[in-house]
Symmetry: C2
Subunit: 392 residues, 2 copies
C-alpha cells in the first residue's frame, strides 16, 4: 500500500531473511462525545456526518528477528491490530483532549499524546503476551526487535524496543527519534532488576562490572569495578563470587546481556536460555518500547523532508549523516513529481550498505566492509503528514 509515498526496501543477506516490515493506514472514527464509534480496519468508513469524526493513522514498522523468523513474522502481521485496538479504547479521549487536558486530582495533566504513547506501549506488551501464549501452537520461534512509527493528528510517534533506528531529516537538521536499546545502554535498568531480585542471576552471573575479565588467580587482588547502579569506579578485593560472568559485558553495540543477546528489549524470546544452561533471559528482555514524539504544528515541511527508519543492518555501516546524504542525493536527482523518488532513495540506502561482492568479500563504495546483516530501510516523506492527517 501507499507505494507512491512510502519507500520500503528490504535487502536480506541471511539464508532466511529475518527482517520483516509492515506499513498501512487506518482510521479512528467516532461520533462526537458518544461511544458508538467503531474503527474500520483498513477500509474507509461511511461518509462523514455532522456528529462524525475520523482521524487517519499512518503506521509503519520494522521487525528484526533473531534465532528464527517466527517472532518477526508474527509482529509484522499482528502489531497493527493490537495498536488499533489500544487506540480505539482512547480515541474519544484523544479527540476531546486535542485542545484540552484531563486534569486529575492525583496526577498532573493527562494529555492526548500521553494516551497515544500508552496505546503504543500497551500494543507492544499485549502482542508479547500473545506470543507467549501461542508460541507452541503456532511455532513462534525466537524474538524480534520492533521499531514502529505512527503519524496521528500532525504528530509523529516512534516506539522502539531494540536496536533499529529512526531519524528525521528536516531542512538541514537531523533529529534522532530513537536510541539503540542495547544491554550497555540499559545498564541501570538491568542492574536495578538484578539488584532487586538477585535470584535472576542464578549464581552464574554477577551484578558487578570489572574493568577487565576476572580469573581465579585474581582472588584476593584489588581490581577496579563498578557496583550495581553506580556511575563511578572503586577498587574491590576479588572473591570467588566475582569470577562469574557480568550480567552485562562490554559496551554499546557490542555489549551482551548474560553473554547471549545484544539487545535489551524485544518481542518474543520467551524460551531463550543462556547457552548450555536453564537460565532464562526473558525477565530482563522487556517488550515495553521507548516512545519519542515530534509535533509538526510549527514546522514547515518540503518534499525533501523525510523520516528514515532502518534495521541495524543499515546503521551498522552508516552514520545518520551518511544516510541523510544518500537520501538527499537521490531526491535531488528526481523531481517532486516522480512518485518513485522515496522508494529509490530507500533502495539507495540498502544498496549502499549491502555493497558489492568482491574477492575481499562484500564491500561498500568506500571499500569498507559492507553490512553482514539483513537490511531494511524506510524513507517516508513528511510533507504528506498534514494532508493525510486531517479530520473529516
Amino acid at each position: 500500500m501507499q507505494s507512491k509515498y512510502i519507500g520500503c526496501v528490504n535487502g536480506g543477506k541471511s539464508r532466511y531473511n529475518e527482517d520483516q516490515a509492515a506499513a498501512s493506514q487506518f482510521y479512528l472514527s467516532c461520533g462526537h462525545h458518544t461511544s458508538n464509534g467503531s474503527v474500520t480496519n483498513n477500509n474507509r468508513p461511511k461518509p462523514p456526518n455532522s456528529q462524525y469524526t475520523e482521524v487517519m493513522v499512518t503506521y509503519m514498522g520494522i521487525f528484526d528477528g533473531h534465532a528464527g523468523t517466527g517472532a518477526a513474522l508474527t509482529a509484522s502481521h499482528l502489531l497493527e491490530t493490537h495498536l488499533q485496538e489500544k487506540l480505539t479504547e482512547v480515541k474519544e479521549n484523544i479527540l476531546e483532549l486535542e485542545e484540552s487536558e484531563i486534569v486529575t486530582p492525583l496526577h498532573s495533566a493527562i494529555t492526548a499524546d500521553r494516551l497515544i504513547v500508552g496505546a503504543l506501549e500497551a500494543a507492544f506488551c499485549s502482542l508479547d503476551e500473545q506470543m507467549a501464549r501461542e508460541r507452541t501452537t503456532f511455532a513462534i520461534r525466537g524474538g524480534c526487535t520492533a521499531l514502529v512509527a505512527i503519524f496521528l493528528l500532525n504528530t509523529l510517534y516512534v516506539a522502539n524496543a531494540g536496536d533499529c533506528r529512526a531519524i528525521l531529516s528536516i531542512n538541514d537538521e537531523i533529529v534522532p527519534m530513537s536510541r539503540e536499546l542495547c544491554p550497555g545502554a540499559e545498564m541501570q535498568r538491568l542492574q536495578t532488576m538484578a539488584f532487586s531480585n538477585p535470584g535472576l542471576l542464578r549464581n552464574e552471573f554477577s551484578n558487578r562490572s570489572f574493568c577487565r575479565r576476572i580469573w581465579k588467580e585474581d582472588i584476593g587482588k584489588k581490581v577496579l569495578c563498578k557496583e550495581p547502579m553506580s556511575e563511578g569506579w572503586v577498587y574491590r578485593e576479588v572473591t570467588s563470587d566475582d569470577i562469574r560472568s557480568p550480567l552485562v559485558r562490554g559496551e554499546g553495540k557490542k555489549s551482551r546481556l548474560m553473554d547471549t543477546i545484544g539487545v535489551s528489549r524485544c518481542l518474543g524470546d520467551h524460551d531463550l536460555l543462556v547457552f548450555g544452561t536453564d537460565i532464562r533471559i526473558k525477565p530482563f528482555l522487556i517488550p515495553l518500547p521507548e516512545v519519542k514524539t515530534f509535533n509538526f504544528n510549527k514546522t514547515s515541511l518540503t518534499e525533501n523532508d523525510v523520516l528514515i527508519m532502518g534495521s541495524d543492518g543499515l546503521w551498522d555501516v552508516m552514520s545518520n549523516q551518511d544516510a541523510v546524504s544518500i537520501v538527499k542525493a537521490v531526491l535531488q536527482q528526481h523531481t517532486t513529481q516522480d512518485p518513485l523518488r522515496y522508494t529509490i532513495a530507500a533502495k539507495a540506502l540498502v544498496a549502499h550498505s549491502r555493497g558489492t561482492a568482491s574477492d575481499k568479500g562484500w564491500r561498500m563504495d568506500n571499500d569498507e566492509d559492507a553490512s553482514f546483516d539483513d537490511i531494511t530501510a524506510f524513507v517516508i516523506p513528511l510533507h504528506m503528514v498534514k494532508k493525510v492527517g486531517i479530520r473529516l
Copy 2:
C-alpha cells in the same frame, strides 16, 4: 573550621533539630608513583619533598534527619571518615590520571573524576552498612538524607541522596547541582524494582498508578492507569487487586513511597516499616547518591560566585532565583574584605525562610507561610577553590 570562608547556619524549628551539618578540609598525600603515601586526618602533613604530593579536599555535608536524630548525627560525624578512606584507595590513580586515562580492554576510559564519583558512592553505601550493623548498639534511630559537596583538583562534586539541594551561582547564571530524589522523581527505578521482585509489595501495594484513588465500587469499571515503567496512560478494567495502595502516590515533593516516606534515597531507615504492618521500605530506599560534577578550569570566578546548599526546609519556601537574589543582596552590602559576608548571607537565607511569628503563624516578608521544617543553609565562596585546591 574555615568560618572565615564558609557560612553555615542552622535554624531549627522542631523540638529536636533533625538537620545536621559538617564541614572540614583534609589532605590526600602520596609519593609520586609509589604506594607509601598516607592520608593525614585533618592535620597538615609533613613538609613536601620532591617525591611528595598533597591535594586538599574541602568537604561539606548537610544531613536532614527523619524519625529521630540518630542517623543524621551519625552521618555528620562519620561520612567524612568513610570518604577519606575511599579516596585514599584511589588517590595514586587520581593523581596519575589527572592528565591521562586508564584505558581498559572491556570498558571505555576510566577517568580521575569517575574514581572520585566512585569514592563518594562507596562512602555513602559503606556508611549505610555501618548504620545497619551498629543501629542497635548505638541506638541509631530513623534515617537522614545526605547532600555532600567536595572540592578536589579544581572540580566540584555534589553527591545527593534525598531532597536537599545544591546550586551554583556564577556570574548571572544558576547551575543546579542536584535534583530532589523523591518517590515521584524516581518512579522508574522504584517500579522496576517492584516489577523485578513483586514480593517487595507484599500484596499490600500495587505497581500500577491510577489517575485517581480506586474504591471497591470501581471493580469492573475502566479507569485510566499507568502500567509499571510506562510513560503513557491506558484504560484498565479495575480488579480487586487494584484496590491496593500504589507503590508511589502523588507527584513531586508531595509524593510518598508506600504511603510513608517522601524521599526515595537516604541513609539509615533499616527498621522503617509501613505503619501498622511488618512491610519493610528499606529495599527501595537506597543510600547510593547521584553525583554531579562541575569543573572550574575554564570558569573565571569572582568573590560573588558561590555554591548554595540547603535542606528542604529552605527550598520548600524559596526558589533558586529567590535564594540567589537574597545572597547577592547581602554580598553587595558587604565588601569582599569582610570575612563574615558569606556567613551573613547564609543567615539571611535561614532568616528569610524561617520568617517571623505573627497572629497568623510564622510568615515570610512577602506574607506567605514560612517554612515549618528545620532549615540549614551553606553559602560557599568559589573564588577560593583554585587557591586552596593546589598541589604542593
